[in-house]
């Protein structure tokens, strides 16, 4: 393997690790804000406790998110100096604003954590969640436009490898940005809610039902439901965008070799030696519909592109995994509410709880698969049409050693993060804390709806 390969592996490693924490970082603040709002609204201390406990766990994951975010920010320049030199000329604006947005979020997170009891009006404390949610969302938005630029470079004129005109706003609002940002935000909220729902379900399965866990599960499942629908819509928008602007990426994901009308959608399967699809599930004409909203539309196939500009075909599985999990999450949420309605929350059965627990890691897997698809599907380009990965990478052989060094770092950080989080909550279950909390506070313990 050459240094380009190792550079890709190192960056891929950092990003795959970072994206877990980045997703938590974008998703969880909204859940905290919702829980605290519901708590103040209903005067139900359970929800306030939820917000408090989630915040406590959240800051630990934020810490890992911050340091890995710093790592990727620096690695972009250290591992891809040629890319950063070129991209910086055009796309520095959102990178810069991303840091501002995060700065804003960090400041208010610091204030939020340490001011639980400092305001007489509880809504003032709740208001602090808004800059956190907005800051996190904006930083996701800005950084996604940078990724959008790598897919759909825009806003500059290049003459003899020299920039003669640069329009930072146009570069930021490139064709890929809107659908990407929508997809990233919706899936981050979905994943955040799925994570917290999974934790609530796990508590119920292990320790039996409690008001706290039930309320938490119901609140989070309703958010899973909303955002799984929005994520699916965002995915559809993204597919339609790809069909129009980046057809090779969609075609690679769908193993669509020949340009044709009424193209079939291929699920799973594999390729034989003659590059024919075997053992796949075919949905007639569905690809045309997915791509253009018309069962007879013409979908561009891979044959139209030079063979050295094709993405690897493995992205097919990543695409299927991402989309498949998305629908599973939606299905589990629907099932939960159907059971809730039918049985009047009597019996959320253990199998459903298990499914909700499994949904949490699946949601993260889906985010990972989505990013793998987004990044590998852009190959061989770093900036599509302008800069190939092999031209962008560092020439230093040290990347091999650094890959293993960072691998070790992420293993240590990941393991410690889990240990610390477990220790933080295992010896301090919600009900115990709730009782203590009631003694400290003189709030009305539980609102009208908290009786069951």
């Amino acid at each position: 393997m050459d240094t380009v390969w190792w550079s890709r592996l190192l960056t891929g490693l950092t990003l795959s690790f970072h994206v877990l924490f980045a997703t938590v970082g974008v998703g969880i603040p909204l859940m905290i804000a919702i829980a605290e709002f519901v708590g103040i609204r209903k005067k139900d201390a359970h929800y306030i406790l939820m917000a408090k406990r989630w915040t406590r766990g959240f800051v630990i994951s934020v810490a890992v998110g911050v340091v890995t975010g710093t790592a990727i920010a620096l690695q972009l320049a250290l591992v891809w100096p040629n890319f950063m030199q070129m991209a910086s000329n055009v796309i520095a604006l959102p990178l810069f604003m991303e840091v501002f947005a995060f700065f804003f979020e960090a400041i208010f997170l610091g204030i939020y954590m340490y001011t639980w009891d400092r305001f007489r009006n509880p809504y003032i404390h709740w208001l602090l969640t808004i800059p956190i949610v907005v800051g996190a969302g904006m930083s996701a938005l800005f950084i996604t436009t940078v990724n959008g630029f790598m897919n759909q470079p825009d806003g500059f004129i290049l003459e003899a490898s020299h920039f003669v005109a640069v329009n930072p706003i146009e570069a930021m609002l490139n064709a890929a940005s809107p659908s990407k940002a929508f997809h990233v935000l919706a899936s981050a909220y979905l994943t955040g809610a799925a994570l917290l729902a999974g934790i609530a379900a796990l508590t119920m399965l292990k320790k039996g039902k409690s008001d706290y866990a039930q309320k938490s599960l119901k609140l989070m499942m309703s958010i899973v439901l909303v955002f799984s629908v929005l994520t699916a819509i965002a995915g559809d928008v993204s597919a339609k965008f790809l069909a129009k602007h980046q057809p090779e990426k969609l075609a690679a994901a769908e193993w669509h070799f020949e340009t044709e009308r009424g193209a079939d959608l291929i699920l799973l399967g594999w390729l034989n030696a003659e590059r024919e699809v075997v053992d796949a599930l075919r949905i007639p004409k569905a690809l045309s519909f997915l791509a253009f909203g018309d069962f007879d539309a013409e979908v561009t196939g891979l044959e139209e592109f030079p063979s050295d500009e094709l993405p690897p075909l493995i992205v097919h599985y990543m695409f299927d995994a991402m989309a498949g999990i998305g629908f599973v999450l939606m299905g589990v949420a629907v099932l939960y509410f159907v059971l809730l309605l039918l049985k009047k929350r009597e019996e959320i059965n253990r199998w459903l709880l298990r499914a909700i627990i499994v949904s949490a890691p699946l949601a993260f897997l889906s985010v990972e698969m989505g990013w793998f698809y987004a990044e590998i599907g852009r190959q061989p380009w770093m900036i599509r049409g302008y800069l190939r990965v092999e031209e962008a990478a560092t020439s230093s052989p040290s990347v091999v050693f650094l890959f293993f060094l960072f691998l070790l770092l992420y293993i240590v950080l990941g393991v410690l993060c889990v240990i610390v989080l477990r220790r933080l909550f295992r010896n301090n279950p919600a009900d115990l804390e709730f009782n203590k909390y009631l003694q400290d506070q003189e709030l009305p313990p539980v609102g009208k709806e908290g009786s069951n």
Binding site: L78, V79, R118, T394
Partner: protein, 338 residues
């Protein structure tokens, strides 16, 4: 009309100065917290330190990323040269920052009283400024070579250069001095007399090495980069001001009064020295490859970044004031009653 690249470098330099101060407080506090634990004096100061650090550690880290991203944005060539040359030292700095940030959170929000975490936290507090200061050494020229389009770092020259070691030494002692004088002030606000007494001795102790290290680095600079040295000599009044503020800070510390003013003097001391160094560096960002004019980004991007920066400041300054009001200047919080 001042050009956008000058605005850019000025803004970045101010931010780097901001990072120098807040990060020094943070790095030094980590070291003192560990040192106090090791010498069994932690009951005196560690609660005070964690009370200050808890709300602000992330802000410190963002200062650094902000500087870095701004630098690459305004001067894309610096990404190419520094990025290529700093792959290894930069990665080590990332790892140290990662260990520090996450272990701080693990210690502080997770398991209390874990001495290993605290040791790593304290040790990285000294190693990070040492590794980051390498970038300043490199900017003086002579350590980065470019041949046939391959940029490389001359490790032997770097490690055998007295300039680079004197800058490392200066970075470390400055961190300890800035941090100790801030914490002295913070302890006096909290009216925590035992902590105040201990921290004041730290501040006094590290004051002399700071000025010696600064002079040493300055002398080695004159041997390594004559032009930079001469430029700084032309700014002798800034250097003299810096020494004046240093004496002023020391005087207040010695007489054990007005610690707030003493810390402001320390800040001004470093402000003057830092700007004398920075202005003397002009016009180079990396001697001799990148100049401020030659390496600047396209004008439209430069202007967009300046506008984004002003907009960002309009958001950030009120929020930072809020943080300071709530945590730094709220006497009740500082004293631990909130």
């Amino acid at each position: 009309m001042i050009s956008y690249e000058l605005i850019g470098i000025t803004v970045l330099w101010i931010f780097l100065y901001g990072y120098l101060i807040v990060a020094s407080i943070d790095f030094g506090a980590g070291f003192f917290a560990f040192y106090a634990r090791a010498t069994k004096q932690d009951h005196l100061i560690n609660r005070l330190i964690s009370r200050y650090l808890s709300p602000v550690w992330e802000i410190t880290n963002v200062f650094f990323v902000f500087f870095f991203v701004g630098m690459v944005g305004f001067f894309p060539d610096s990404a190419y040269y520094y990025g290529s040359a700093l792959l290894v030292p930069g990665s080590i700095a990332i790892i140290l920052l990662a260990i520090r940030g996450s272990f701080y959170a693990f210690e502080n929000y997770g398991s209390k009283d874990n001495t290993t975490y605290l040791f790593l936290y304290g040790a990285t507090g000294l190693l990070i400024p040492a590794s980051l200061s390498v970038a300043l050494t490199l900017s003086e020229g002579g350590f980065i070579t470019e041949q046939d389009g391959v940029v490389a770092l001359a490790y032997f020259e770097l490690f055998s250069s007295p300039l680079s070691w004197s800058i490392v030494a200066l970075a470390i002692v400055s961190v300890l001095f800035i941090s100790a004088s801030f914490l002295t002030f913070y302890a006096s606000r909290a009216r925590d007399l035992p902590a105040l007494k201990l921290l004041r001795t730290y501040a006094m102790f590290w004051s002399t090495p700071t000025i010696i290290a600064a002079l040493t680095a300055f002398i080695y600079l004159s041997q390594h980069n004559e032009r930079h040295f001469q430029n700084m000599m032309d700014l002798w009044w800034l250097l003299a001001l810096s020494v004046g503020f240093y004496m002023c800070a020391l005087w207040h510390l010695y007489h054990a009064r007005r610690y707030g003013l003493a810390f402001v003097c320390v800040m001004l001391q470093f402000l003057c020295a830092f700007f004398a160094y920075g202005i003397g560096h002009y016009p180079y960002i990396l001697d001799p490859y990148i100049t401020i004019q030659g390496g600047a980004t396209h004008e439209s991007m430069g202007i967009a970044l300046v506008i984004a920066f002003i907009g960002g400041l309009c958001l950030l300054i009120p929020s930072l004031i809020l943080v300071f009001k709530l945590f730094l200047f709220d006497a009740d919080y500082v004293k631990g009653r909130k």
